[in-house]
Symmetry: D2
Subunit: 448 residues, 4 copies
């Protein structure tokens, strides 16, 4: 939140042009006015419950119909395990990138990848990258490891008590496993790490969760372990919590690279110079120049990992396919690497250490989300690992496309054309934009 005092000064001057200090101060005070009505009906999805909520919102008819369209109303019941205080749906446009050829341990073949986004040029850019990969025979993708963790924390009075607790806990692996796995048909407790900080101790439990992303599964299983601890531990904590913010849940962390958290995948490709120049209008050497400068740029700003725009592709894919969109925060971390090979081709790789994905559970069973998984060919049981390999391959496509656009100078033009001034400056449309209506994918560029 560091701000130069001159910027603060300019900002405060602006504020004080329209308000006195006293007025501003009044705005900031708590106000115990009669509160507007709460949303009625909790998790109920009946037409009546929904109608009562809209009554409280008192919205214009157009507003209501944009959210509560007839199809949504008919399908409302399908959302019962996914939402509370339901009023309808928001519609995110979906475009297809692909075909994307993936040569993975689990994913094999060509994929049409549905991406849900409201950002112009995003699908065009990933699509361009996907086609480039496919043109050279696809990328290789390797799932390396998988697991989801939950990390309860226990506060004791002293490190001496911590020591005694550990002595007991390390001997309970079988009991922990039994307690955890009694809560789930799919989850398996695979390992445990211990972190001591003064009189606090965190137990980091690692699970395999089958084809589910598994965050609730591991919460419930870990709760069972904690209950076992409360009943049986000869030494009791002063207080404890089922998750003490050590698992990396929903946030970027350096830990992603260093421990088990979601699926770990690396994807790579080697692209001949001629193909690269034809498709991205850049040479391998230029691409590597950019990569090098951008890797250092990321380092200078204190990012975790080095990459270009994983979040773009991930968010669009997660939203389309019923994944937990909040997990973009932790999943959009990794390493992109570009090299010129001895044969003067471009070697490109992405490494994603923390993909939280599933093909069952969460939002994967909702109608439009399941449809997207079906378009991808990866709906339901047995597909989570392949889905993770497709994720990594998609992000490789996106890194190639955006870096190509930045090298060839097409980056700005693509955004100008596809967003047609609307995003950049809501309103103006320049004449030459009509060209893009021709639908020539060849010159799409990319997005950040």
């Amino acid at each position: 939140m560091s701000t130069h005092y001159r910027h603060v000064s300019t900002y405060l001057e602006q504020l004080l042009r329209s308000h006195t200090v006293q007025e501003l101060e009044d705005r900031l005070q708590p106000k115990l006015t009669p509160s507007p009505a709460r949303m009625p009906g909790g998790s109920r999805l009946t037409p009546e419950a929904i109608a009562r909520r809209w009554q409280v919102l008192n919205a214009a008819p157009d507003t209501q119909s944009a959210v509560l369209d007839p199809q949504t109303l008919v399908q409302a019941e399908c959302y019962r395990r996914n939402i509370e205080n339901f009023i309808g749906t928001v519609k995110i446009p979906v475009g297809i990138a692909g075909p994307l050829q993936v040569n993975g341990l689990f994913a094999q073949g060509s994929y049409y990848v549905p991406l849900a986004t409201t950002e112009a040029a995003l699908v065009a850019s990933y699509n361009r990258g996907a086609q480039l990969l496919t043109e050279v025979g696809g990328c290789t993708a390797l799932l390396m490891n998988e697991g989801v963790s939950r990390a309860p924390g226990f506060a004791f009075r002293t490190v001496t008590e911590v020591g005694k607790f550990m002595l007991w806990a390390i001997a309970q692996q079988e009991a922990f496993k039994y307690a955890a796995e009694s809560t789930t048909r799919y989850g398996k407790l695979t390992d445990m790490r211990i972190t001591v900080e003064g009189n606090h101790v965190y137990l980091d439990f690692q699970f395999n969760t089958g084809d589910a992303a598994g965050q609730n599964m591991v919460t419930i299983a870990t709760q069972a372990i904690c209950d076992y601890i409360r009943e049986h531990s000869p030494i009791q904590p002063q207080h404890w919590f089922v998750e003490a913010n050590l698992s990396g849940d929903k946030k970027a962390s350096a830990q992603s690279f260093l421990s088990v958290r979601g699926k770990k995948v690396t994807a790579e490709v080697t692209i001949p110079t001629t193909v690269l120049q034809k498709r991205l209008h850049a040479t391998p050497a230029q691409m590597v120049e950019y990569w090098r400068m951008s890797a250092i740029g990321g380092t200078l700003t204190g990012t975790i990992g080095v990459q270009g725009h994983y979040a773009n592709g991930l968010a669009a894919l997660y939203i389309a396919c019923g994944q937990d969109a909040a997990c973009v925060a932790e999943s959009a971390v990794g390493v992109t690497r570009f090299e010129v090979t001895p044969a003067d081709e471009l070697y490109a790789a992405v490494t994603l250490p923390n993909l939280i994905v599933g093909t069952v559970g969460g939002g994967t069973g909702l109608p439009s989300q399941q449809a997207c998984l079906e378009i991808l060919g990866l709906a339901g049981t047995g597909n989570a690992r392949a889905f993770a390999e497709v994720c990594a391959s998609l992000l490789l496509a996106g890194e190639l496309s955006i870096i190509g656009a930045l090298c060839s100078g097409e980056f700005t033009r693509a955004h100008q054309r596809l967003a047609r001034g609307k995003i950049s400056d809501h309103g103006q449309v320049s004449g030459h934009e009509r060209l893009s209506e021709q639908g020539d994918e060849g010159d799409y560029a990319s997005h950040a």
Copy 2:
């Protein structure tokens, strides 16, 4: 990607049960098979273009109708500046949290906050927190600073050239401003910082972008500056890029706290013990115990900032309101702080240094997204600062609710009940779940 060799060993053994080494090796090789068809029609949104894409996808009728429902087909044209290779929409259920009383410099009054998510318990948890804030007169929210940056990079041959370039560039502020602002009616160039790394130099341009999130606006404006540099600089770079990964675009970075990047907001509240116990079933001291352990937990795992689950609320709000969901990666960074006051109340604050939000441009004008902004009362021009203050207030509500649930032991129960076993273990439903059908919001808990 660090993995214990025993885990690698177990994993490889599993793989080799169903495949030989040679088979696995074959899977990973590039395959130059005839490629499936590309998506036809680029950014066109005519019924014919859409139909041709579905033809290529060759999907089941139900799959198609889930994505391309009648309303979507009718409204297709509205997505023309937001998507390419359009095939329909994905529907994300929306629930309301609130009323949320915000006492901000810009946001004033009670807000019904639309949240789009597929994760059970999320809306219930934020709703609980919002009502708690409202019950005590609302939270205070203070927008401190705003701006969006774009950071072109220039590679010279030597640092001597870098020095000469800087000497010229620092004298061009007026010219840079003129070039940049000629591309936009709303964007203003407000400052410039310079970063030298060997023979590379990055110029970090900072803009105000009015009510737009502004990422494309600043790209186009910065391109104009770069074009000016190419034409006028007495010393020319070997190569240069309009964005060299120094702006923090779409990724969590330590820089968020230290420079201008989006909107910086802090929100706070003080909650009497009795209210806290009644609503969250926890004391201020317990909440602070958790906060302390979780802050250290975050530190031990190498996160940026310390917080609980900002990404949950942010992703849901961004998706509902037409924000760029990929920006969750950079926006879900900040600091949560809980203290017991001398009067034994709970003081709670959140500080968000990097909210990339807008109320015009991007996806904000799409029908259902605009409807959500209207429910919030913040659609269109003049509302972006208030929107940022509502964001921070919502996240404060979410931190209070989840920490309350973790302290009172309700965290796991809420997930068990609201997701009803479906997420945790797709299928089983326990008997007592029917209780939650009564819709009593009072005992909802929270979500991670």
Copy 3:
């Protein structure tokens, strides 16, 4: 290296007052002038070799005698395995902090801790903290884990090759152990982790190194493993390096908290209010106020861990006791935590995950360094673990003392008095400084 353009402007203006642009440019050019003489004699320590070096340096007699004093000349031979191009010694003043009562698994009793520093107030501050700990019966210290790692990197052509290499490598644990341990009587290979990034793979070997810090020991042992790999691996890397910067050697890293790197120790104490107020003139609540603000301060600036000034005590102890002073960069990372207990006492803990220390090898056998270890009572075999526990205890003392000084407002005064204006403003001495000549330790404060 980010700098505001106005600061760059001011700086360049200053430069151009005394030099033209051309002159500055000339200064920066390479200059192939006849080079001055090299230092003769390499690692030889004979009086003649040393004399020839001084001849080349052509220094004033006083300069030479300050570095090459008679005792150093007599003892020169003792430095033969510690230095090259030897010309004498630099003398760092040593002060004693203590007695410091440590109740550790390995360290037991009262220690007089030698600290070598040139910074006024440092010894006084740690001494004050040490006496405080001792007055309440000492602190508890718990060594949790130990090990040193070396991480060779192997670059293959493809991830497919990486996969085949891993398949071979995970089956070679016994052979790796045999190769590694054939090079050392003390080092033991204890574990291996694998990190894949595209076509690169890093093997992270973990060793126990007995009472030596062990960095050279693990290099030599890992070289033997690499030699074994080169001879036996069915698939050979394109290139490889015995250390690929994954071990965290000589740099602060988030990995310190997450893997084996040096000795992991936590130390804690509980201090009654009356003692705290008497000795540090602050209450537990004030100390916790500071801790909380400083922990957030560290977070806002992107530090690894949260702590006050570990580097001060560590550098002074490492220099005095013949440790590798460069390892301060990685060892000065950790977590300090202060709390008020239910009984209104102060609970304070430090956690150090990465202490690279030894009591044999390195500089530990040199005369004055060994003398310092003897004063500490920890010279030679069997003492490294106790040394690590004393380190942590010392740093706990330092955190208490500096935070006390910052809370009571004595921080600045202590520096003014003990450095007597010399450091702050080389020259002026204020009148009241003479008081400090009385040598009353009671009111020493602290140092940052």
Copy 4:
């Protein structure tokens, strides 16, 4: 502190072989035994005061004479502003690296660089790099910016109070400057930044400190500002601290790259292939291969910046030249970059954002430290900027040398030879080591 439960288990088993649980528990308890004597005499340096301290230590005569040699005893008084509880000096061997040709804005010509270390091969390695730089005409070094910061923190009751405080504080720049500069002849207040986090506000004051490192100078000046605030601010904080851990003092932080903290310097060189191969036995391409892998290696482990072993050279130079050795923790952060140029030469650069150095004050005036500065030709006023440029140049030499050694496979051999097994495995000396006695610098390698 994360540890695999099996490692904890093994460790605890070992402990329990020699002690019962009860015995271990007893060791960890506080023990209120009569405390040994304190060190008498505080900061006094008279022979009597020193003798009384040794009496308390009760050390063997050899121990005492190693620390309190005759020259130290004679010179004791010179340490009066640098140490408390003085008992003598520790002697660190000094070797010379160089001549090192530096073409800087401030540093010009060939430097003999004194390095104090106890680690074998360190001086040889930096010496090799220095000679390489000199052979190609020296490296270019560019000081970009300088300053030292101090960041007091102020806790208010509400953000509303914070807002009102800021409104007042931004108008006090002249008064702050007057207050600060009344305490110092050399320090100048140059800028102020403001950081708000809830009801906390940090003011980050930036100073120029002339030729002093200046940490005490800025403390005293900031104290004067704080005193002014306490007297004049219309709104008073609940509590405040002269430094609230936001300045980055004594710790690695991402902030180093993003704000003013010490001296910012970049140094670069271009080396023809033939010279590189002759001196380092590696090609530019090999050096870049290593650089790339090591940069990613650093990223994967969560380091700040990317570099090899800055801490080695910095610690040795800081100790030799009377700098604050604890500042190695914050100064050993930066970016190393290697590239192959279009002409197939090696381009290498280092960028150091946070060099805390001075040529007056601190330990710079002590006899042997001043002698080292004189050997360097940079003792006293007017030399701090040149000293910073020499630092960066030395570290560039060190990066080149170590990476060369890692590429050519000489890294391990050099350590084996120069440490002669003593460090790695205290005792054994292999026969071929005698070769190194010949003092052929040509084949020295490097050190980590």
